[in-house]
Symmetry: C3
């Protein structure tokens, strides 16, 4: 594997899940694999779990992580072609990506969408520019439209907690006060589409995700109906996709309650706003597996880094 | 030892001091103890000495330090119970502490007081929440009311420089332009109360520290009288405790001068404002042991981490 | 070698270049030299290449790098002698430098000029204060007037790409929208003056560099004439030195074009503003060796750190 930018980079999700579980059982087994190799973690946006778990994963492989907040530690990066750079950006991605490639064996990047310019966001210009101009493998730590480390983490977690051959998994929208990206919901959907699960998405009218991603997955606008007999309820807010980046609905009736979830396991990528997205009674109960889910972020990242390091073409 | 949050966590300060001196004489002796273990250093507030010395201590034990400025690198953390999180905080401490525990074997936290809400500060809600919701040991890198890594450092330093069985140690307030916390003064007082020293506190009227902490320690409002025959003069500004967080006095006569200190050793936790807290002539003379004191921060932290790592219950 | 603060600290640039090339051929040869030693990278200003390449160099020597943004992570540092510190600065360099020396075996510092106070900038008060008050070696990661890690990097790069006994090297000013420092141009000039090259500087009237640095090096105010038969064209903007820190000229005719450079190799320290300093056609062609130049930053820094570590007087 050269890059890991999408759930589509997973060739066989069941094999990957088994390998990730093996890593979890013995996380230091490959401590020599990344020895004297460096991973640069470049953050264009804030991070807690991704920042820590990716470092931990790299350390478990013996790598040296170097973390940088791009805007705060360096300066604005230009992505436009042919731009006369007489404004606020000080370095073009062509140089920045090529230069960081001189010092790091792998580059991991987080860059959120604008949520104002759909075409720009869908072009994935930040992530794609790194892939194009860097000379080393790129790992997506959440881009404009995808969060494949999270999506793979979620697949591992569902595999661990599933008691059925084909569990029912519901992805539910929940209300939020800020306009949020679609990346987590997209990658979760894509991961589940590769799994042996019965996937249903529920969200209010106007909040359907990108149909190119949801494909044949049923979308039900009635949350109660969607939740019926669910084994896993995966919750996430996102802003409207059709009325791009807008908040059309903040209906508190879409908040997840203990009553609603029944016997299902509650999942969320975190951070989660309590009593807005989900009530305390859910998060504080055994129905919630969000902490165990967060724990799997390390092993998802570690498998991805391991596969990249094992690829022969890497210097 | 599970956590290190207070001077009260030191069971035998004389034994600890001897052990810290042994570490100082041979700092790399336990380089394998923390191998492949990670310490997360979470800063809600600025830091120089604590940031560097705690990293150095961890490295001396073979640990991997991961440093995070919580607000700058991630987002606002919510500490309230039952809050409807529709404001500026994006993640609850219940999740944040539990999640960081998945990636770090020890969590060290710095979180200063509000200095406006005494009850809130004295509840130590940030530190206590980490202790409550994290599943790994917590180290206090200065909380609202205590700075026990500094207090233990000070005990080591006084032990090193003391030429008497029972030296006279004076903790003196000095003027400052900003309202400062009580943590350093509190932990110094608590550490000295465990030592074989003659402890006296001197400060202007209205600046007496929390009586639950000072206890039977004499408080003298006349600095000159307090300094008589002192062996160590430990200086620190703090805001009023009774008129909580207020600056009641900026009298330059309380500044420490060469003339005032006589043959005593001058100590301060740093950073220190020159010619406001203390005149140049003191800091630039052999009376000052502030740099040697700062050096001991490494060995104080290293002993604390060593004791935590040696505790069997740690994974 | 105790400190590396200037190109003048290079005793024999040809020997240094050969040694840097040997490191580049075998970067991990001295992985044990810096074992259990710590380098503190202190940034008063932004950085991308220097931040990453100096960390990489330290890691290649087995050192532990600790990175700190001084203002963001800690607080304002006071450099004045005798100052009554009742303003915004919270710690004096006397303490800060001495304290960091307790935790780090080497301190590397980046601190840009004011560009408003020539005397202050030329006093190099930040860098000189670290040299004066720290007890460990200091490495200059770009100071007010010098950037010797860059200058040495440039010398290595020219040596690698030179096909002649004495190549013609032109340092050319190019337009920019912000007032920039002279450090890169100064250190490049000083490095070339030690090399077997035919050095020419070209810039508009009013932009001559400090004559104490340029010395006998020819300065030509006609760029076309200067570029004739050039083997290397090194481009950099700087603000006026005589009319200190001012922007006197933004003439786009000084921008570097494909037509202008002919068969010369194009060099720049980066970050570079495209289509302001140099047109895309140059950077995107084989004439440009800016990425290879950036790569050499690691080996320049690694040789400097190696020489410091090998010096006996270091603890």
């Amino acid at each position: 594997m050269k890059h890991y930018t999408s759930i589509h980079d997973i060739d066989n999700i069941h094999a990957w899940i088994e390998e990730a579980k093996a890593i979890k059982a013995n996380p230091l087994k490959n401590i020599d694999l990344g020895k004297n190799k460096t991973i640069g973690l470049l953050f264009f946006n804030s991070s807690l779990r991704t920042r820590l778990s990716t470092q931990k994963a790299a350390l478990n492989l013996g790598m040296n992580p170097i973390v940088m907040n791009v805007s705060g530690d360096a300066w604005g990066i230009e992505f436009g072609d042919g731009t006369i750079m007489n404004g606020v950006t000080a370095e073009h991605i062509k140089e920045a990506a090529a230069v960081v490639s001189q010092y790091c064996d792998i580059i991991a990047v987080r860059a959120f969408p604008t949520l104002t310019d759909k075409a720009k966001d869908e072009s994935e210009y930040v992530l794609r520019s790194f892939v194009k101009y860097a000379s080393v493998p790129i790992v997506n730590m959440e881009s404009a439209t995808e969060h494949p480390l999270q999506g793979f983490t979620d697949a591992i977690t569902i595999s661990e907690y599933s008691k059925k051959t084909k569990p029912k998994v519901v992805l539910s929208w929940a209300p939020h006060v800020k306009a949020l990206p679609h990346a987590v919901a997209n990658s979760f959907t894509q991961a589940m589409q590769k799994m042996e699960v019965d996937l249903v998405i529920t969200n209010p009218e106007g909040y359907d995700l990108n149909p190119d991603i949801t494909g044949n997955t049923p979308i039900i606008h009635n949350q109660e109906e969607a939740f019926k007999d669910a084994d896993f309820i995966y919750v996430k807010n996102w802003s409207s996709y059709s009325d791009y980046g807008k908040i059309l609905n903040t209906d508190p009736n879409w908040m997840i309650t203990k009553e609603k979830i029944g016997n299902a396991k509650f999942m969320h990528c975190l951070p989660v706003r309590r009593n807005l997205i989900v009530e305390d009674a859910v998060l504080d109960s055994d129905s919630s597996i969000v902490i165990q889910q967060a724990n799997n972020r390390t092993y998802a990242a570690q498998l991805v880094l391991k596969k990249i390091l094992e690829t022969k073409e890497i210097r």
